[in-house]
């Protein structure tokens, strides 16, 4: 249980899931001698929220950039809706993958509404001549775009700030605006790169609700995050990336139970640490017992073929414990700068 990675078919089925939307196979990205991402497979099904976690420098953002066409993978291929993704980021967006950035990259000197309208770029056609001649088609397209943009702003809760400069928005609202801007391109898959970095618990909660609402609009979400509580509450499936390689993939409980994940985040205990051996022994015994319990619970749940209330509760408490454990790495991660 602890060693073999769980495959997608054992993951709990999210509503409307099934058909694979994004299919990355053997994605490898090398920069000179450095291999940032090594042979990563990842599938995102429609209607699913998938999390991607890993310690700093694990290659999460690089992998994201491979998915969005900012980088062309050295090896492997990424398929979206059964088509190989083009190697240009604007074509990827046109194909239906939208993204946000780890460090916010809004168009700072444009208004909130204009930012979202820029996101509509791929879904509108009006070119230079249309803009100069201003035929009826231009006015119709502009009106539709504005209407759609306003609707998205209302959706993320920024409708009343449409005419503000985006640079003047508070941090949390800038994050929301980035999501609204990404949604404006009418994507099938939304990639969120640390959407809650630097947020307080209330804002994180709100973001969680927002991501669920986005999923309910039929958009699959792939999210990078360091906040364990957030990721385990949110995701149907979680993949762990360590040193460019996928360590494990599975549902929240599986990932949380895996000691390698904990080790990757908190580090191995020091070998010559006095008393470490005993502590490790005790821990191992405890972990073993806990695992057995968890396995039992899962077996029961599987037997009942339903979301057993007890099992769910156990999972929830597990998640909280893991969240508490992961609090330290979260804090350090919040200040991480863009690694591109």
């Amino acid at each position: 249980m602890t060693t073999d990675t769980t495959t997608t078919d054992t993951a709990p089925a999210a509503p409307g899931s099934g058909t694979p939307l994004l299919d990355a196979r053997g994605v490898t990205m090398r920069f000179g001698g450095l291999t940032a991402v090594r042979g990563v497979d990842l599938t995102v099904n429609s209607g699913e929220i998938v999390g991607l976690i890993g310690p700093n420098g694990a290659g999460k953002t690089t992998f994201f950039n491979c998915l969005t066409g900012l980088y062309v993978p050295t090896e492997g291929e990424v398929r979206f809706r059964d088509k190989v993704l083009p190697p240009k980021s604007f074509k990827v967006t046109a194909a239906g993958i939208a993204r946000t950035f780890q460090n916010i990259r809004l168009f700072a000197n444009m208004t909130v509404l204009e930012n979202v309208l820029v996101g509509r770029h791929t879904r509108t056609k009006e070119g230079f001549w249309s803009a100069v001649l201003r035929g009826p088609g231009f006015h119709r397209a502009e009106a539709t775009s504005r209407e759609r943009a306003m609707e998205l702003l209302e959706f993320v809760g920024l409708g009343h700030k449409a005419d503000h400069l985006s640079r003047n928005l508070p941090y949390g609202e800038q994050r929301k605006l980035e999501i609204a801007r990404a949604l404006a391109s009418e994507p099938g898959l939304l990639l969120l790169d640390e959407p809650t970095a630097g947020m307080n618990p209330q804002e994180t909660r709100a973001t969680e609700e927002l991501v669920f609402a986005i999923r309910d609009r039929g958009i699959a979400v792939l999210v990078i995050e360091h906040d364990m509580r957030f990721i385990f509450n949110l995701c149907d499936r979680v993949a762990v990336l360590v040193q460019g390689q996928k360590l494990i993939e599975g549902d929240s409980a599986t990932v949380q139970g895996d000691e390698r994940v904990v080790a990757a985040y908190l580090g191995e205990p020091l070998e010559n640490d006095p008393g470490a051996a005993e502590a490790a022994e005790v821990e191992a015994a405890e972990a073993h017992a806990a695992e057995a319990e968890a396995a039992d619970a899962e077996a029961q749940a599987a037997g009942a073929q339903a979301t057993d209330a007890e099992a769910a509760e156990a999972q929830a408490t597990d998640a909280e414990a893991a969240g508490a454990q992961a609090e330290n790495p979260t804090d350090t991660a919040a200040g991480k700068e863009n690694d591109r």
């Binding site: 900012l70 604007f90 967006t93 950035f101 168009f107 820029v118 996101g119 070119g127 391109s185």
Partner: protein, 608 residues
């Protein structure tokens, strides 16, 4: 300066926060002095200031102000008006929506500076103060009294920064100097203008007409100044008075009214510009007008490339050259190797198309570069154009451009039987050759303004601004960066080519030396860029005003001679230090550079 200490006690400086003036005169006397100074300055302009008409402008008459006296009269009148408004005289309240003290100070300064400049100029030119008539002394004294009174008006003193008590003498000096500068700045600070009442639409349009009429008057006066002293006086008065109007909050109100009726304002501005030739008695100043218009139009085209799309193009004048050469070659000029004479509309198309092709040819390889690299490569291409035009003379290359002699004797245009080369009489006013071309150029400017406004506020314009703001994010939003940038580049090139077709006919001759990177005479690439940056990037008014100033100042101040470029550089450095967003700031850019200023919450459309 980590330790926070209380400010040093200095009894001679009034307590911070307490209102007091720069000069220790009681407020009532100070205000009376300032206002009275304005009134008396007006009166003194009716006196004779000198005894001989050797000083230009003839300031020898009693009861008839002339030349520089008119400028002092205007400054004095404005001072008096603002002074009375600060007394709360009924019916003048609208003059000072943001408080009148700062405006009063600036107008007093304007009057003082102009008057003293005049008096000094008279003394120097004629050799001694003995050449002054009593009027000259009177004006010097009253304007000095006025400015002293104005500077004594109280203002909110800023709190000095705490200083480290162990600071060295040099640090102390620097600290005091910085504080002094803050105090001086604070003495000219104005409040926020109170909100403007909504007037009936017809009245607002009337106000716009009034504003445009004043602008036309000021511009016409500036162009028509006949001698250096008058032009310098004009610059002093206009500069200070504009600052005063700005501090009084009138400019803010005017902007708000014009923003409500944008289309009317733009149409009105064109009508006002079209009135310009009718204010001139001969063709002398219409020449300057048409050159300014060519320069301004090209600068506006460059503003699409630089201001909206953020592509630094240092070889932009080449596109003007391509347009001009194309039009000259098909104009039936005897030195053109092509023996054709196209009608004007066809020549315009050829010129624009040639520039478009050239723009795409240059843009396609260079626009893959970003930032500084693009600037360097465009600079190179600009020079390549000029050198190529120099060499295509039949000896070192195919005979196309007639080498350094250029394409000469470009015939005058004839549009629908209307010969632009000869003067016509319209409504009793003689419209000369340059005035004809002025009207034609105005039409082209209108086209450029239309393209700028409409493309700026559209999907493509937003894509340009997005690329300027953050290219990576723009690409991630699905914007085909290269294509969108190429469109901006090509549009800019085409508009410059359009202006070039007219330029070829106005100047008769097209030579490679007209299209330098930098030179004393605009338009050249450096001046074009300077006009855009000086005027304000991403605005329509900015490049127009910037181009007018950059053309007029070297043209009028002939005595600067060899120091012209030096003065230009100095002015540019000062401007970039104190007003990096340009004279007519785009509201976005103003925020970018002055973060401490209160940010307006609501903005209007792109490029507006």
């Amino acid at each position: 300066m980590t330790t926070q200490t209380t400010p040093p006690k200095s009894p001679d400086i009034p307590a911070a926060g307490a209102p007091a003036g720069l000069i220790g005169i009681p407020e009532r006397i100070a205000r009376a002095l300032a206002t009275g100074g304005g009134v008396l300055a007006v009166v003194s302009t009716f006196l004779a200031w000198t005894w001989t008409d050797e000083f230009p402008g003839d300031l020898t008459f009693y009861g008839y102000p002339g030349g520089l006296q008119v400028l002092v009269l205007i400054g004095g009148a404005l001072t008096a008006l603002f002074g009375l408004a600060t007394y709360g005289v009924k019916g003048l309240g609208w003059l000072t929506p943001a408080g009148g003290d700062a405006a009063l100070k600036l107008t007093s300064l304007a009057t003082f500076a102009t008057a003293w400049y005049t008096v000094l100029a008279i003394s120097f030119r004629l050799g001694g103060v003995v050449n002054l008539e009593p009027g000259g002394y009177v004006v010097a004294v009253v304007t000095l009294a006025g400015v002293l009174g104005a500077l004594a008006l109280p203002f909110e003193r800023p709190e000095p920064d705490p200083i480290d008590p162990e600071a060295s003498r040099g640090e102390r000096f620097r600290h005091d100097a910085a504080h002094g500068w803050h105090v001086v700045k604070a003495s000219f600070a104005a409040g926020t203008p109170r909100p403007l009442r909504r007037l009936p639409a017809s009245l607002e349009i009337l106000v716009i007409v009034g504003i445009l009429a004043v602008c036309l008057l000021v511009f016409t006066y500036g162009i028509g100044t006949e001698y250096d002293e008058l032009f310098i006086g004009f610059l002093i008065t206009a500069g200070f008075c504009f600052a005063a109007l700005h501090k009084a909050g009138l400019i803010a109100h005017a902007t708000r009214i014009t923003a409500r009726h944008q289309n009317i304002t733009i149409c009105g501005a064109f009508v006002a510009a079209a009135c310009f030739p009718f204010t001139q008695t001969d063709d002398q100043y219409a020449t300057i007008g048409v050159y300014i218009l060519i320069f301004a139009t090209v600068a506006l085209g460059l503003n699409i490339v630089v201001g909206l799309a953020g592509l630094l193009d240092l070889g932009y004048v080449a596109f003007l050259g391509v347009g001009a050469y194309a039009a000259a070659l098909v104009s039936g000029s005897p030195s053109s190797p092509f023996d054709v004479h196209f009608p004007f509309w066809a020549a315009v198309l050829v010129g624009a198309l040639a520039s478009l092709v050239f723009g795409v040819l240059i843009g396609a390889p260079t626009l893959r570069l970003r930032g500084d690299y693009l600037a360097i490569v465009t600079l190179g291409f600009g020079e390549i154009f000029r050198i190529a035009a120099n060499n295509l003379d039949g000896t070192s290359g195919p005979d196309l451009t007639n080498g350094s002699n250029g394409v000469s004797s470009v015939p005058d245009l004839e549009i629908l039987g209307f010969d632009l080369g000869v003067h016509h009489v319209i409504g009793g006013v003689t419209i000369g050759r340059f005035a004809n071309y002025f009207f034609l150029m105005l039409l082209i400017t209108a086209v450029v303004v239309l393209v700028f406004r409409r493309s700026g506020d559209s999907r493509i314009g937003r894509a340009w601004v997005a690329i300027r703001e953050d290219e990576t994010a723009a690409l991630a939003m699905g914007i085909h960066g290269f294509r969108v940038k190429l469109i901006a580049f090509a549009v800019g090139a085409t508009l410059a080519g359009l202006a070039g077709t007219v330029q070829a006919h106005v100047t008769y001759t097209v030579t490679p030396e007209q299209y330098l990177f930098a030179g004393a005479i605009p338009p050249n690439s450096a001046f074009l860029l300077a006009a855009v940056v000086l005027g304000g990037m991403g605005t329509i008014g900015g490049p127009l005003i910037g181009a007018a100033l950059l053309f007029l100042i070297p043209n009028k101040l002939q005595f600067l001679g060899n120091y012209q470029l030096f003065a230009f550089g100095l002015a540019l450095v000062l401007l970039m230090r104190f007003r990096p967003e340009g004279l007519v700031p785009n509201r976005r850019r103003q925020l970018e550079f002055h973060e401490e200023a209160a940010a307006p919450d609501v903005l209007s459309k792109t490029g507006a």
